[in-house]
Symmetry: none
Subunit: 187 residues, 4 copies
């Protein structure tokens, strides 16, 4: 079945691109890891780059929409916690996608492609996050948005580098407490 081999290639490539980077990954390695012949790769994708573009297209679609769900948590703290859990849960569920996107974000050209691709999602998330922050008591929601974004990126980079060492949950709990405490005290 065509779809089967295609997804074998995609997932082999995702792992390799994420762990070694696009240029350092050879089509031989992809073929080997995906257990298909090199020729088959090029009957699915015109070029090596097209594999990465397909990953960006399809894998982003696969996991980003999950955030869309309206979460029904009642109070703001619970909502923010749930929001953060959603994000940080991805780190554990899809570390390869996160690692790949950290990588791609360092390349100007790929960053552009990612941005274009995720534009509508990013806007929705930013909007939701901003609403949440205001509900949670933030006086400077724009700055707090930046702060949360920065924290997510930083946490991702550190968690990816040493998942077993990094105190993901402690950091998360601490952050929520810290931010809420600050917002409360500003009132």
């Amino acid at each position: 079945m065509k779809a089967k081999s295609r997804s074998a290639i995609i997932s082999a490539a995702l792992e390799l691109f994420a762990k070694k980077g696009f240029s350092a990954t050879t089509t031989d390695e992809i073929a080997k890891k995906g257990k298909v012949s090199k020729g088959l790769i090029f009957s699915h994708f015109h070029t090596k780059e097209d594999i990465l573009l397909a990953i960006i297209d399809e894998e982003i679609d696969r996991f980003l929409p999950k955030f869309n769900q309206d979460d029904d948590a009642r109070d703001p703290k619970e909502k923010l916690t749930s929001f953060m859990n959603g994000w940080l849960g991805l780190l554990e569920k899809e570390p390869l996608l996160i690692l790949l996107s950290l990588r791609l974000n360092l390349d100007e050209s790929w960053r552009k492609i990612l941005r274009r691709k995720g534009k509508q999602y990013i806007e929705i998330y930013l909007k939701r996050m901003r609403d949440l922050l205001i509900q949670a008591g933030s006086k400077k929601p724009d700055l707090d948005c930046y702060l949360i974004g920065v924290l997510f990126d930083g946490i991702a980079a550190n968690y990816i580098a040493a998942p077993e060492m990094f105190p993901l949950n402690d950091i998360k709990d601490y952050l929520i407490e810290l931010l809420f405490s600050y917002w409360q005290n500003q009132k």
Copy 2:
């Protein structure tokens, strides 16, 4: 002069490795940007990898020691501010080094080399940061150390991606206020 061409190669390679990544950079490009012949590169360095190793060795030595200076700021807040200014100032002064180190940190093997190389520095900084945090009122200095590390990485990644858009100073001031406020209120 030998040293001159060597540093031309190093700085050309630094820029390219940082912007495009190690594998995606060719020795031809380095030669062209460094305005030297390809042959000369290999009379200075045995392999392309050696150029990167030299960058790690020399450039890290070049900028890391600046943190060693005992800063004479009086109160803890000033000290932390100065410490953060030091770090974040690097983003503006040496964006290529920061970008390169963000990249290398995503690769397991390079990460190890970086860690080994920077071990003594990292330990000193962590120790100094911990002291600072305690002086500043942190009740959980270990968690705060992680937090600061995470913040630096996240800020770096976001600043590098769009230096002119990212409100570096606003974020820095906000963070200091936020952290101190939290620490104070915990007393």
Copy 3:
């Protein structure tokens, strides 16, 4: 029906081999143009080369015999005119076959195959042409045979390159007049 798909393949291959050349034509293209699957091509023909061999065999058989018919024109001029019309008419009716044979004649190995294949026909034509030329007044029928052969090839190459521009009929009429005039004046 088996014969139907076979002839679809043959005629797709003929067009592509003629227009792009044997090596530059892929079996994918043949399949696409012939509206059959690639697999089917190889159930009809063992190799790509076999398709070309089949074209040579079958298509040459299909059109060469037409010259065999005894033409009943009375005087030599009419006969030669009819002979030339026969040849040159092929250019308009079967340009692909002509183009293909021009191509194959440039390749030593294919030329040999063509010669072997068409041997009996060629001999008959040469003989008939020689008779005709003698009847028409040629003093040097061997040289005139070469000349006619040369003219046919040259006309074919030029007509194929720009059918709508090339004054095929003017050239033909002019040639007949020129040759006959020369032969007459030699008497």
Copy 4:
């Protein structure tokens, strides 16, 4: 020396492209015949196609200008003979270029490139040939131009296919006699 290896590649490629065709020639063969490494080919030429483009550019320039020389032959017959000798001499001196150009003329896209490239030359030759034909007594110089072109192409194709068998000089002499005789008798 760079120019030396370049011309080794060019002349190896010319021979192979002429004898086997562009698509049927591999870069391996070119490297082997030119006695250079495969890598060197691509430091001289970006793609295989570029080698052919360079041949078209440089080799055509190398031999076409020879026709430009004003020949000082006195009477029209001598002039035409000299003109034909020039053309047909090329067959013996540069059979590979002639064979290659016969091939390229069968491909629509290459034909266009050849035409574009040789445009100015072709126009000059056509003009000179027309003048010559008029001086020689031609009443239909345009048709005669076509005729001469056709003859050259046909002669080339036949000579190339079997140089030792084809009576090049006999044909040439016969043609001159035939044409002049016709033109004379028209007066």
